[in-house]
Amino acid sequence: MTATRAVPAPRRSAARAGSAFLSAHPRARLALLLSAPLFWLGVVYIVALVLLLVTAFWSVDSFTGEITTEFTLDNIVEVVTGSLYQTVTLRTIGVALAVTVIDVALALPIAFFMAKVATPRMQRVLLIMVLTPLWASYLVKAYAWRSVLSQDGILEWLVSPFGGHTPGYGLPATIITLSYLWLPYVILPIYAGLERVPDSLLEASGDLGGRTWPTLRLVVLPLALPAIIAGTIFSFSLSLGDYITVNIVGGTSQMLGNLVYTNVGAANNLPLAAAIALIPIVIIFGYLFLVRRTGALDNL
């Protein structure tokens, strides 16, 4: 062979040396890659949670509003034993469950249609339609529902000829509005989950003699279950923490979020607010613990 023309060797530089080092040391590479996000997660998230937890064990001077950093269980005891907190907690869980059930019932057929029936073009159109409401402000949507559900709103106008009436402001209005607000968050994971189910599995079921219902029950639902649970985590936890919607359309009802809000704002009692805020956190952790085994957390 003839001598090949020399290709110049890559220039030596500090960056190159650094890259070479990282290429040879995967652990260093990982550490460098993860340190910034981990720092963020650690400081902003974990520390904030821990501070919340710690604050719950402090108390506040009622007149000056100064926080007293002496350890006390008073807030926790009050939150656990106070009938107000029990009532509101039960109401909040009830609302969150109702919203979740409604959302799953609505999201399943929509997501199934999007993932398995619609043409790719239709699929994109539907996806955009599902996502569009997310571009509008939360407040705008909540106030829109306030106007829809009003005594002289569209709903009243629509149903009054049939003897129906708008539910007015209250818990039903809250459940309707929250269901609307969180629906995209439930559709999307279920859609993604169903999308991952190969069409051939549905065909295989039909091929083996499975009609529509057995196919849905034995193949689609079990495979979509983790995605459904992932969706319920969104609707459930978002409902659990909400206080704005209930303020706008909830009439006189209040949820845990309102108690936290009043205690941070009006009452200026951060420790009690922290103690109340622990209720939804405990509930959500309990829920996550329950669903952990289903593999739903991989679908988030």
Partner: protein, 395 residues
């Protein structure tokens, strides 16, 4: 904390004759957590510092950035050379927290915040002799419980208004003379009654009980002992059955009166003005039978003010008839002086200067353990107790 409170109580006993010096020595700043200033009123003014930082309710400090026609800050800057930076707050408690940072020179405090600011040592006494425009201010606004502690002035009045009874004139054709339409007779409008969503609204119930349940012995709706508070809470729980919704955002109130979701409840003059502007079928009244609660705001100076001379300049400026008229008119409340009414068309709507009308108003003030009606044989329920009571009422 206990030490401070005992000190205060001790000081309260021999209140009237105590001199300024004595009070500031054993008064509010000693044990309080937040205060750091010397808490002595200035005796003379120096050169202005060139800037000032103001913490205020929305609409109190307008420099034309929201509406070019609404600007009373620029003339102040031109007159005094004090560059204004503004921060607004949404609730009295937010104001309280922000003042503790020591970042602000002056604050517009409502009665349910002012006493707490004083107690926390966050604001300093104000020497009203240094304020040219102080003399013109209505006497019935001066030396009140929410701006004066133990004879020491902690600020200048800004403006005031009453929490009025608003009603839908289609539903309630005759002007009510009593708050009973939202209490004992609220069942007639079940589901369409509204109330202000704040613990301070307990005072409205207490005011009603003051007139209708004399046996309870309520002298001041902000000084309730356990038993009196319980009675007010019971009344509010009965009322809740008929409440459609509570309001704290005044636009929400405007809308629900417009749509007919609400037909009767507490309101502000400014809300009526908005509704009238949009052709609403509502009216407001101050029921003579019980009177009403209301607010009276006070400009106060931080105990850690970095620009005390500009702060005094601002207090004086905002008390001047023209500026006061502009600010109170924009917000929708009565001004602090007759002279201000020369610059406003609508003073009558707000009953400005009408001492009889004003005497029917029980201005918001923070409920504290030391009963503000002067009782010493019982402990009154404080704001924290009111807050938890309010949460319990709402359920």
């Amino acid at each position: 904390m206990m030490r401070m409170r005992n000190a205060r109580r001790g000081a309260t006993v021999g209140l009237a004759l105590a001199s300024v010096a004595l009070l500031t020595a054993c008064g509010t700043s000693g044990g309080g957590g937040g205060g750091g200033g010397d808490n002595e009123a200035a005796t003379e003014l120096g050169e202005t510092e060139g800037q000032i930082s103001i913490l205020a309710w929305p609409g109190y400090v307008e420099d034309g950035s929201n509406d070019p026609a609404v600007d009373w800050v620029t003339p102040f800057e031109e007159q005094t050379g004090c560059e204004v930076t503004t921060k607004t707050f949404g609730t009295s408690d937010e104001a309280l927290n922000l003042m503790k940072t020591g970042e602000y020179d002056v604050v517009s405090a409502s009665g349910d915040a002012s006493l707490r600011l004083v107690a926390g040592g966050d604001v300093a006494p104000v020497n009203t002799d240094l304020l040219e425009n102080y003399d013109g201010i209505y006497d019935f606004l001066k030396d009140q419980a929410w701006n004066t502690v133990d004879g020491v002035n902690y600020g200048v009045p800004h403006g005031y208004g009453a929490n009025l009874l608003m009603y839908n004139t289609d539903v309630i054709t005759e002007e009510p003379t009593s708050w009973d339409v939202v209490f004992d007779k609220s069942g007639d409008y079940a589901g369409k009654v509204t109330a202000y969503d704040s613990p301070i609204y307990i005072a409205d119930a207490a005011l009603y009980l003051m007139a209708h349940e004399p046996d309870l012995g309520i002298e001041n709706p902000y000084a309730l002992d356990e038993e009196q508070l319980a009675a007010a809470v019971d009344l509010l729980k009965q009322q809740r059955e008929n409440i459609g919704e509570y309001w704290s955002d005044y636009l929400k109130e405007v809308q629900s009166f417009q749509t007919g979701d609400t037909v009767v409840g507490t309101s502000w003059q400014v809300i009526q003005n908005v509704l009238e502007g949009e052709g609403g079928k509502t009216a407001v009244t101050l029921p003579a039978e019980e009177g009403a609660t209301g607010w009276s705001d006070t400009w106060m100076i931080s105990s850690e003010a970095k620009n005390p001379n500009c702060a005094y300049a601002w207090l004086d400026y905002i008390s001047s008839p023209e500026a006061n008229a502009a600010a109170t008119s924009y917000f929708g409340e009565a001004p602090s002086s007759d002279a201000a009414c020369e610059f406003r068309e609508d003073c009558e709507a707000y009953h400005a200067g009408d001492a009889d009308y004003a005497s029917q108003i029980w201005y918001w003030t923070t409920p504290i353990e030391d009963c503000v009606d002067g009782r010493t044989d019982v402990k009154c329920t404080d704001y924290a107790a009111w807050t938890s009571a309010w949460q319990e009422i709402k359920g």
